[in-house]
């Protein structure tokens, strides 16, 4: 019997989502190739694109594994995974284990590979939140419901902030809000929560600008915020990436300059250290223009739609919250990443899901969508 359940479950996958995911990944692969393509070299070997392809295959395996895995079994694994994630985040901060890149400690070496523990921590936190918020014994209107949710989220958020990685930390907070909303926290409570959060953020910024000594490791945040409002202030240093990515995007025009013909990346104006990962969107937008960028965003819209649909048809509340949280995670990344390259948000180190170069992130994103599928294939019929 169990032998036959295997393909039947597979048939119930949401193929719209699978196709959109594959399209995004393959498209991303093409532009990673473009971003690391140099006419000077023979175009046969392109290490970044090849590596990314390998990551993608691992990611697909993770996707299928997660889709076939019954998410309800994860209920028992949620806490151990959460602890593992927090432990990883803590390890990053231990000198000698954490690896420093681009001014932040976000990586640890695992079996010869650079892994970002924050990826696992994000997924595990969402899992724990889904389990906690779907506990039938808890009343969404009760204060403890909210308070305990934040108690769960706070340790990974603080550890990530310490790296420092404000953007990932705030993404996690954003996902928490989305899950609380989906979990049915009364609207009034939710609005109060939003206002409170706004106040906290305002206070944090005030602290950043008035008492920078108190939060020394977040100095770069202050710099980026200043540059966001006035990119011409320091165009050759801190304002550089914002200016150059906007130039790449804007100069793409309606149809773009053509595949492999973007110049911002080839000529090095988009720094090559970031053009394949955090700044892959300017590379795409320059080469395929507004039309191509719109297609890309449409594919993400399909993913988001499929994710929310999975939440809507989930068999139980945990499934619903899990799907909503993971979809929210994808959304936060997409929005923040693109918004920062087109001058709507300050520059943050957030990659574009499924498209940016980066092993942990590709596997993580595919695994997350796999979990969404795990909810979907077990939907109410």
């Amino acid at each position: 019997m169990s032998f036959f359940r295997f393909p039947r479950r597979l048939l119930r996958l949401d193929w719209t989502l699978v196709l959109a995911m594959l399209a995004l990944f393959i498209g991303g692969l093409c532009f990673i190739y473009s971003a690391s393509y140099r006419a000077a070299e023979l175009p046969v070997s392109n290490p970044l694109a090849q590596k990314q392809l390998r990551f993608g295959l691992i990611g697909l395996a993770a996707f299928l594994a997660m889709a076939l895995l019954d998410y309800r079994r994860l209920r028992d694994l949620a806490w151990p995974l959460y602890l593992l994630g927090v432990l990883g985040l803590a390890l990053v901060l231990v000198p000698g284990i954490g690896k420093k890149m681009y001014g932040a400690v976000r990586w640890i070496s695992l079996a010869g590979m650079q892994v970002q523990p924050s990826e696992l921590a994000k997924l595990a936190t969402i899992l724990v939140l889904a389990r906690f918020l779907s506990n039938p014994g808890r009343d969404p209107a009760h204060f403890s419901y909210l308070a305990l949710a934040f108690v769960i989220v706070l340790p990974p958020v603080l550890l990530i902030l310490k790296e420092p990685d404000l953007s990932t930390a705030s993404t996690l907070l954003g996902v928490t809000l989305i899950m609380l909303f989906a979990a049915g926290v009364p609207l009034r409570t939710f609005v109060i929560l939003l206002c409170g959060g706004g106040l906290v953020i305002g206070a944090l910024f005030a602290l950043l600008f008035l008492k920078p000594d108190w939060v020394p490791h977040l100095g770069y945040v202050k710099e980026r915020i200043i540059v966001f409002f006035d990119p011409g202030r320091d165009p050759l240093k801190t304002g550089w990436n914002a200016i150059q990515s906007a130039l790449a995007v804007g100069s793409g025009g309606l149809w773009g300059k053509g595949y492999l013909q973007g110049t911002q990346d080839v000529l090095g104006y988009l720094p090559r250290t970031v053009s394949a990962n955090d700044f892959i969107f300017p590379v795409i937008a320059e080469e395929v223009g507004f039309v191509g960028s719109s297609v890309l965003l449409s594919l993400y819209a399909v993913v988001l739609f499929a994710g929310v649909r999975a939440a809507a048809v989930a068999q139980d509340k945990m499934g619903r919250l899990l799907a909503a949280g993971l979809t929210g995670l994808v959304f936060c990344h997409v929005f923040v990443n693109i918004a920062m390259t087109i001058g709507l948000l300050p520059i943050m180190g957030i990659p574009l899901p499924l498209v940016s170069y980066g092993g942990t992130f590709v596997v993580g994103a595919m695994a997350a969508l796999g979990l969404v599928q795990s909810v979907y294939v077990r939907r109410r019929l």
Partner: protein
């Protein structure tokens, strides 16, 4: 609230969530539309500002032809060894790259067996000022050097041999002073020019090359190059970039057609070979300059391209001034070749007639001052105007000059084009000088005003009178053609874009109101100067053609030092002149003994090319 309504509520919340997320993506799309559609042109402009450079591409320089089609200045490919800094760059400070380039230059110097033409400061300047352009390390590579580079630098990165047009003068030193030469200089740009980089371009430095530089140069084009974030050239095709910006092709410069007759030019230069002198041959019928020869001369090929310092110093510091165009840029006292001017002035004023006679005892006393005739012992005895011209008697002309007064001599001389630049199409012309009272009061304050002694000196072409050989050739032309003063005409025309010569017509500046009988008298006297057995210029006589002329020997410098400028003016054939000549030799003995044989040699070559001697 029932369970189902709660469920419904949750689905509603999810829909709300989805709507919010899609709205956020919509915001992104709106922003993208604003950037990529509404304002795309602005971003594209800013992008090209930072990564596009416009490079000045010179037009092909026009060529210079002689009247018979002989190519006098042409273009030929020159092979340069260039370095591509983008391939020789070193990370870190600029000095690292400069040091590496310097090392490559040293390696190449050993390979070529030639000392480097570049210093470290040159490399540094190139890095600062035109980093994306190739750096020329050696110009004018010999075929041997090229072969050696091709064989021995396989696999070296960043070096190449590039072809660049260079100037060549196929006739060598012939007419060097007319043609001038070119140097490589950065062109001056107009305010509207938007070039980011300008490479040194062949630029006329003297002669026609300089005067007609604008026409010869044509219009520059522009080349679009992409520079990377460090400012290096990105040498690979970026069709997405350059195509949309358009580039402009250079327009070739215009060819110049000179009036020079290379055969006569060569005869004139050869006649003066080894001397310091000048010779001008004009066509008296239209002012065409057939020859404009100055010796010593130089080979403009040696001044084009990379000039070793020694070559330049040897030329510029040579006391014989080989770079000086003696036909127009040097003032000389004319001496007796000025006498026909005085004679015509006197006759026209009706203060003298063909029979006006004076006695020459060999000297002339003005008060207590003694003015010698060149025949100072015996004197010429009593002679008329014809004989006075033929024998070039100074005493006669002292008397004549005092009789008619200096003003008329001054005025007639000016009408004949003396004392003013002729307007020939060359730079560096000097005006000469025909003095008068006003000039003397202005320039020689200590001596007071004009004196009779000044009139005596002016009457024989001495004193302050100064001329150029070109001016005197033009005087000879006016005597030859019966009174028409043409502006010397060196450039016959320019070739337009369709390849048609656009000719500039000759310019008649004045017609002298000369009485035909008076003119005949002076011309006959000039004919006898050469053709009578006793004429001062008898050594200039040639068989078969009547040449008329006048000798001159002008003293200059302090008296007694014996510095002389020796002259002849001439025209031929006597009856229907086709050539008007002035020839000058510095530090000769006399016009008759020094210049006449040289003039004879040149005229012989012009009229009897088959049995002329020494034609190159």
């Amino acid at each position: 609230m029932s369970a189902s309504s709660l469920l419904n509520d949750e689905v509603f919340r999810l829909r709300l969530l989805l709507a919010a997320m899609l709205l956020a993506l919509g915001t992104l799309v709106a922003r993208l539309y604003w950037m990529q559609v509404t304002n795309a042109a602005l971003f594209q402009h800013n992008l090209s500002e930072q990564s596009i450079r416009r490079v000045y591409v010179p037009g092909q320089r026009g060529q210079i032809f002689a009247r018979d089609g002989t190519l006098l200045a042409a273009n030929q490919p020159s092979y340069n060894l260039v370095l591509y800094l983008e391939e020789l760059r070193r990370p870190g400070r600029w000095q690292n790259t400069v040091t590496n380039v310097e090392a490559v230059v040293q390696q190449l110097a050993r390979l070529l067996g030639q000392p480097p033409q570049l210093k470290r400061s040159d490399i540094l300047a190139h890095v600062h000022r035109r980093l994306p352009l190739p750096l020329v390390a050696w110009r004018n590579l010999t075929p041997v050097a090229r072969a050696r580079i091709a064989e021995r630098t396989l696999g070296w990165r960043g070096i190449a041999v590039e072809v660049e047009p260079s100037r060549v003068y196929p006739e060598g030193p012939l007419a060097a002073h007319v043609l001038g030469y070119v140097k490589r200089a950065e062109p001056e740009l107009g305010e509207d020019d938007s070039f980011n980089y300008v490479e040194p371009e062949l630029t006329g430095a003297a002669g026609i090359e300089r005067r007609f530089d604008h026409a010869l140069r044509g219009a520059p084009g522009e080349k679009i190059i992409a520079v990377d974030v460090s400012g290096y050239n990105y040498r690979y095709q970026l069709p997405g970039l350059a195509d949309k910006l358009g580039h402009r092709d250079a327009v070739a410069g215009r060819d110049v057609l000179l009036s020079l007759d290379p055969r006569i030019q060569r005869l004139a230069e050869n006649a003066l070979d080894g001397l310091n002198g000048a010779a001008v041959v004009l066509d008296p019928n239209n002012g065409d300059v057939l020859a404009l020869a100055s010796q010593p001369r130089f080979d403009p090929n040696e001044l084009t391209g990379f000039i070793p310092t020694e070559t330049w110093q040897a030329l510029s510091q040579n006391p014989d001034k080989p770079l000086r165009n003696r036909t127009i840029s040097e003032n000389y006292a004319p001496g007796s070749i000025f006498k026909p001017v005085v004679a015509m002035a006197a006759l026209d004023l009706a203060r003298a007639s063909p029979n006006t006679s004076y006695n020459c005892p060999g000297h002339f006393m003005l008060g207590k001052a003694r003015f010698n005739c060149w025949e100072k012992l015996a004197g010429h005895g009593t002679l008329n105007l014809h004989d006075a011209l033929m024998y070039s008697c100074n005493v006669y002309f002292f008397n004549l000059g005092l009789h008619i007064g200096p003003e008329v001599i001054h005025d007639r001389a000016l009408e004949l084009g003396l004392g003013a630049r002729s307007g020939i199409e060359l730079d560096g012309e000097v005006p000469g000088l025909v003095p008068d009272d006003e000039w003397k009061r202005r320039e020689r304050k200590a001596e007071g005003g004009w004196r009779e002694g000044d009139t005596c000196n002016m009457s024989i072409g001495q004193g302050a009178v100064l001329v150029t050989p070109l001016q005197m050739a033009n005087v000879a032309a006016v005597l030859a053609n019966g009174g028409k003063v043409w502006q010397p005409h060196l450039v016959l025309g320019l070739r337009d874009a369709q390849g048609v010569w656009q000719r500039t017509p000759p310019k008649l500046t004045r017609v002298m109101a000369w009485n035909a009988n008076h003119l005949r008298l002076v011309r006959e006297a000039m004919c006898d100067v050469i053709n009578a057995p006793t004429g001062t210029g008898k050594h200039a006589k040639i068989a078969g053609v009547l040449v008329a002329g006048k000798t001159g020997t002008a003293e200059h410098g302090s008296k007694g030092e014996g510095h002389k400028w020796t002259w002849m003016i001439a025209f031929a054939p006597y009856d229907a002149p086709r050539y008007a000549v002035a020839m000058l030799v510095e530090e000769g003995v006399s016009g008759g003994s020094t210049v006449a044989p040289l003039l004879q040699k040149m005229m012989q070559g012009i009229f009897h090319p088959d049995n002329a001697e020494g034609e190159g």
